[in-house]
């Protein structure tokens, strides 16, 4: 018994999951990119700048978690940008510069954005509307409501406590960085180490198999979109705190990067594959890239071109990686494959 246990462990150690390799490679690429930038421009890369990159990455780190869960199911959430803006507008409108209101304003914001996510999930799970259409439609409608309610007015004051949260430091470490670490730990645990998280992988891999096994597909789909709404709302509130105000379009620049982060992190857009570590690495990479583009003072157009190009290159590298893996698998003996399967099941 003890012997099999240790063998399983050793095989797990040997066969590092390809997603982890992708994530590490993306983080390495980030470091290389930063070093190259440093070589070109010695003033770049001060501690302050790195802290700033990490601080601003929090929005993407959080928002892309929800996107990652939805993509894990083979869906996509195009409402993240709008939900982030709406969350910022609600928290700014409700607190209006007072800290006391935060106690009830935060739950209200989270709940309303959770509701938007639930509507997405219900449409996808029960009405069988394709995810990208459902979420785009809900985003458009929600934006219309927000535009109607606010009459287009934008700037409002956010509670000072939120602003302080985004700018203060503990022992020289910015609070957002600590928040990122906590969120990363919690998110990874939820996605990869809980039964519910593993069920998402099962549904994403094969919905037919998941149905036969009897997994609650509809409920988990609704939950995934709900969590995505929650994450976007959290990111939106923090964004409002960071920029000490809210506008109706402040979340828009985060929609495409949230998808890009997931794709760069090695997740499959058809679902069933990808870990949060990868998405996290993708988010950090994009944040660093965004800062570098700003430092190089490239225009928005070039920013888009680079971002789109990176998505496509990441997709191409992914298919190449799968191809190599397939070749490697073919060479593995049946014994090796069986052991690998054993180690996979022991994880579940």
């Amino acid at each position: 018994m003890d012997n099999t246990q240790s063998r399983t462990v050793s095989f797990t150690m040997l066969a590092v999951r390809p997603e982890t390799i992708t994530a590490v490679l993306v983080l390495l690429a980030t470091v290389v990119m930063m070093l190259a930038m440093k070589a070109l421009n010695p003033t770049f890369g001060s501690m302050g700048q790195i802290a700033a990159i990490l601080t601003t990455s929090i929005f993407l780190v959080i928002a892309s978690y929800g996107q990652g869960l939805v993509i894990l199911l083979g869906g996509i959430d195009l409402s993240i940008g709008v939900v982030m803006s709406i969350a910022g507008m609600i928290i700014a409108g409700l607190t209006n510069g007072s800290n006391e209101a935060l106690v009830w304003a935060i739950p209200v914001t989270l709940l309303s954005c959770f509701a938007i996510g639930l509507v997405n999930g219900l449409g996808v799970a029960f009405l069988k509307v394709p995810p990208f259409i459902m979420t785009l439609a809900v985003a458009t409608a929600a934006f219309g409501v927000a535009l109607g309610v606010t009459a287009g007015s934008s700037q409002r004051t956010v509670a000072p406590a939120l602003q302080l949260l985004m700018s203060a430091q503990i022992c020289g470490i910015p609070i957002p960085v600590l928040l990122i670490v906590c969120f990363f730990a919690a998110g990874s645990l939820l996605q990869s180490r809980t039964a519910e998280g593993r069920k998402l992988y099962a549904i994403g891999s094969s919905i037919a198999a998941a149905r036969i096994v009897g997994l609650p597909i509809e409920a988990l789909t609704v939950a995934a979109y709900g969590v995505s709404g929650l994450c976007a709302s959290l990111a939106g509130m923090l964004l409002a705190g960071y920029s000490s105000g809210a506008t109706l379009d402040m979340g828009d620049p985060f929609l495409m990067p949230s998808i890009a982060a997931v794709v760069i992190g090695g997740a499959s857009v058809t679902g069933g594959k990808g870990i949060y570590f990868g998405t996290f690495a993708g988010a950090i990479f994009l944040s660093a890239l965004s800062t570098i583009i700003t430092v190089l003072s490239l225009s928005q157009g070039w920013r888009n071109i680079i971002q789109g190009g990176i998505i496509i290159i990441a997709l191409i590298l992914q298919t190449k990686q799968w191809y190599l893996q397939k070749m490697a698998n073919r060479r593995l003996t049946g014994q090796g494959l069986a052991n690998r399967a054993l180690s996979q099941t022991s994880k579940v």
Binding site: T140, A141, V269, I305, G308, L315
Partner: protein, 334 residues
């Protein structure tokens, strides 16, 4: 007699429900805005429809082959800024720019097709990439709204031929007849086959990869044309085409009865779907609904369109089943 009974056995076209809906919407619209049934009103309506209609026609081809394409907004933006920067600057600007936007559309379409068919990328994700890149290219060409579209394009393409036929109508007719021709070619048949079952069509000897490449290429040309027509409407260049336009293009295709799963539907449905959405917008405007509520409506309409599309698919399938089982059944009244 033989001929007619064979015709009756054919399933109802999936765009039939959309056509009925269009008639109903148009009647309601013309009751609310009597000027709609004048020549000017019809020309205006067609002018407003054509950009969406051509884009929807292109997207329909891709969707029929069971792929998705988000690059339409990107290509339209690029074409728009190309026309706005080039058409007044060079000799024979209107024609050269038309050629230019078609080639750019074709190029982007072929890149999409190559990525999807030959590298095996997921179409939704990689066309998202090309869409973002195209929007970037548009911003690089023209970083703020501006530029100038040649007066020839603006005047001629929004006018009428011989004073009675709107030019937009002629172009729409050309698009539809192009589709009717395409449907009878090998490529046209291959599109349906690939969309229904790629593996089976590969086994019957259809070149699946080349079909998908062709579909994306044709769609790219259509988006380029749509961008050209958009420039004719607006008379200026704007690098930012809103993402809600993307929603409308998909809505038009879905309302037209084209299944998003591929293999069922057609371009005519997409064109009618574009017409429905345009009439709806004009109707909302005529009734006096506030501007921002149209956002809410378009979101709703989109979801309803998909449900409607699913429903019409079910209805046409129901229609088909008894016809297959009882081939001699006669219908006296339709």
């Amino acid at each position: 007699m033989n001929q007619t009974s064979r015709d009756r056995r054919r399933p109802l076209p999936s765009s039939l429900f959309a056509a009925l809906l269009y008639v109903v919407m148009f009647v309601i619209y013309s009751i609310n805005a009597p000027s709609a049934i004048t020549l000017l009103g019809i020309t205006d309506l067609l002018n407003n429809t054509i950009v969406l209609a051509i884009a929807a026609a292109g997207l329909t081809l891709v969707i029929l082959a069971a792929e998705l394409d988000l690059s339409s907004v990107g290509v339209i933006a690029v074409s728009n800024v190309i026309v706005a920067t080039v058409s007044t600057k060079i000799p024979a600007g209107p024609f050269v720019s038309l050629l230019l936007v078609c080639s750019v559309g074709l190029l982007v379409g072929l890149i999409n097709g190559w990525l999807v068919a030959f590298l095996g990328l997921q179409s939704l994700a990689c066309t998202l990439g090309t869409m973002i890149m195209c929007q970037g290219v548009a911003l690089v060409i023209l970083d703020a709204p501006g530029g100038e579209v040649a007066a020839f394009i603006m005047n001629r393409l929004t006018d009428t031929v011989f004073g009675i036929i709107p030019v937009a109508g002629v172009i729409l007719a050309a698009v539809v007849s192009g589709w009717l021709l395409l449907r009878r070619t090998r490529l046209g048949i291959a599109i349906y086959a690939v969309g229904t079952d790629a593996v089976a069509s590969h086994l019957t000897g259809i070149n699946v990869k080349r079909t998908k490449l062709g579909v994306f290429g044709l769609a790219g040309i259509a988006y380029g044309l749509a961008g050209y027509m958009l420039s004719a409407q607006t008379g200026t260049g704007d690098p930012r085409v809103s993402n809600s336009f993307l929603l409308y293009v998909f809505a038009a295709v879905a309302i037209g009865g084209t299944s998003l799963g591929g293999g069922r539907g057609g371009v005519i449905g997409g064109v009618i779907g574009a017409g429905i959405l345009t009439v709806m917008q004009k109707l909302l405007f005529a009734v006096g609904v506030a501007d921002f509520y149209t956002n809410i409506f378009s979101g709703l309409i989109m979801v309803v369109a998909i449900l409607f599309g699913n429903l019409s698919a079910i209805l046409t399938l129901r229609q088909r089943v008894p016809l297959i089982r009882r081939p001699n059944r006669e219908y006296s009244v339709h």
